[in-house]
Symmetry: C2
Subunit: 310 residues, 2 copies
Amino acid sequence: MRAPDILIQEVAPRDGLQIEPVFVETAEKVRLVDALSQAGFSRIEVSSFVSPKAVPALADAEDVFGGIRRNPRTMYVALVPNRKGAERAIAAGAGEINFVMSASETHNRANMGMRHEQSLAALSDIVGPAHAAGLSVNATIATAFGCPFEGIQAFTKIRRIVREYLDFGVDGITLADTTGMANPRRVEHLVQDVLKQVPSDKLTLHFHNTRGLGLVNVLAAHEAGAFRFDAALGGLGGCPFAPGASGNVCTEDLVNLCDEIGLDTGLNLTALLQLSATLPQLIGHEVPGQVVKAGRPLDLHPVPEKLRDG
Amino acid sequence: MRAPDILIQEVAPRDGLQIEPVFVETAEKVRLVDALSQAGFSRIEVSSFVSPKAVPALADAEDVFGGIRRNPRTMYVALVPNRKGAERAIAAGAGEINFVMSASETHNRANMGMRHEQSLAALSDIVGPAHAAGLSVNATIATAFGCPFEGIQAFTKIRRIVREYLDFGVDGITLADTTGMANPRRVEHLVQDVLKQVPSDKLTLHFHNTRGLGLVNVLAAHEAGAFRFDAALGGLGGCPFAPGASGNVCTEDLVNLCDEIGLDTGLNLTALLQLSATLPQLIGHEVPGQVVKAGRPLDLHPVPEKLRDG
């Protein structure tokens, strides 16, 4: 099978649902993950093993992992901030751990309650047991394109964290634009920079559409040599600093863009649109995705009756 | 004064308000247009001289033109489909007539009630009187990137209409993606093609964000050599075929993008955000614009109290 031109990794069950105020029932989460694996995603971020007090929306992580029907072609990922979370992820049968630390120390303390040295110590505790249990480890640099407290994060800092992650033996690295502060120029430069340290098949870009630049940034990163991208069905997700703003890059809008410009994703847009159309009922409100409202560009409309005279 | 890298032309009063179900009072429209001219837009599409039955939201076009305070640096534009509309625009003191015909004959008949030959006859009736009265004439090719009834429009057809427009002596040409069917690859190719016929200072690109690709398409057109773009404050506007989808490219989101990547627009983002924030009260609902909800990328947030320990 030909490898896709762009590899889209689905994060809606984790990064999408974690911010929803209404708890989505475990059975519904399982149905969503199973539908996504059947839709052909090679990597799905299923849930987080964090404190249920911190993220009550994902308090059922073990049950979701226990309920899904495993597709052998899909990697099921759990977000994990520390050793305890890693043990839970291993026990639950996750295929990959996604460790997260923010480039910004202030954001890391606000988000994870840890200083950098504590997070890095946690990572060093995680990689060995995870690998021993057969899991791979991806490590994310959150706020890589800017922090809502500290602002821009220097390339030298990102480069240093990438180096530290690699030295710990991680299998992949994600640069995350956690609060949607990236722009295509900075994306191009940072991706070019990090690709000197990390091969493209191990580098994921994770953008949010908070300021309407999600797809712009994906294209900029792709032109700079990246090809793995996180996205969330319906554009679920959000940012506590931007009420009402868009969430993650919308999976089906990205697939539509790729279809239109001839980049293969290996995903079927029609199936994704049908699945996305079920989200408003699941979470109780409209989603930011556009193509699910507008239809595919070439889904033509019937000619108005009055004009059918010849 | 240095010319901007990207010239953003504001269309919210016309293309934004025309689809709103609630009639915006004339005095409010005048206030909006005046605020936009004070914000520094060199070209504002103010209203349409069409049948009030066809577009009741803009039935007060004469009164709006009569009420605004003219900024000598601003070109005040009226959309016009035919000779009668042109006479009204001249009488109302418009600085420019924007004539519209769809590349798709089906769309032109559905939207304007005219075949191509009728629209072109109307244009030939308009240019002379408009020029004689001191107005310039811009001619728009609607559905240039696709028609919801006919689908893709051939480059040869667009090229022929551009030629016809130029032969009639128009002063500028707009390629409009009326229902948001454009993609960056087609944009690049069509802009390169049309720039062989029309110099870049006479070519405007008008994109809608119906499928989330508005800013992507602006960047693609800019890279292909275009620099004049229509946009609407708040991303107002919409498409009758896509209920709930986004409208025009959002002015302030585009200005933010340009600011972030170092393209000068000559516009002040802070002032635009303040103005955009008044729109929901004006039209009675939220607007699609993202930056007005999320703030500028480097509008930082205070460090949480609990972390201020040193």
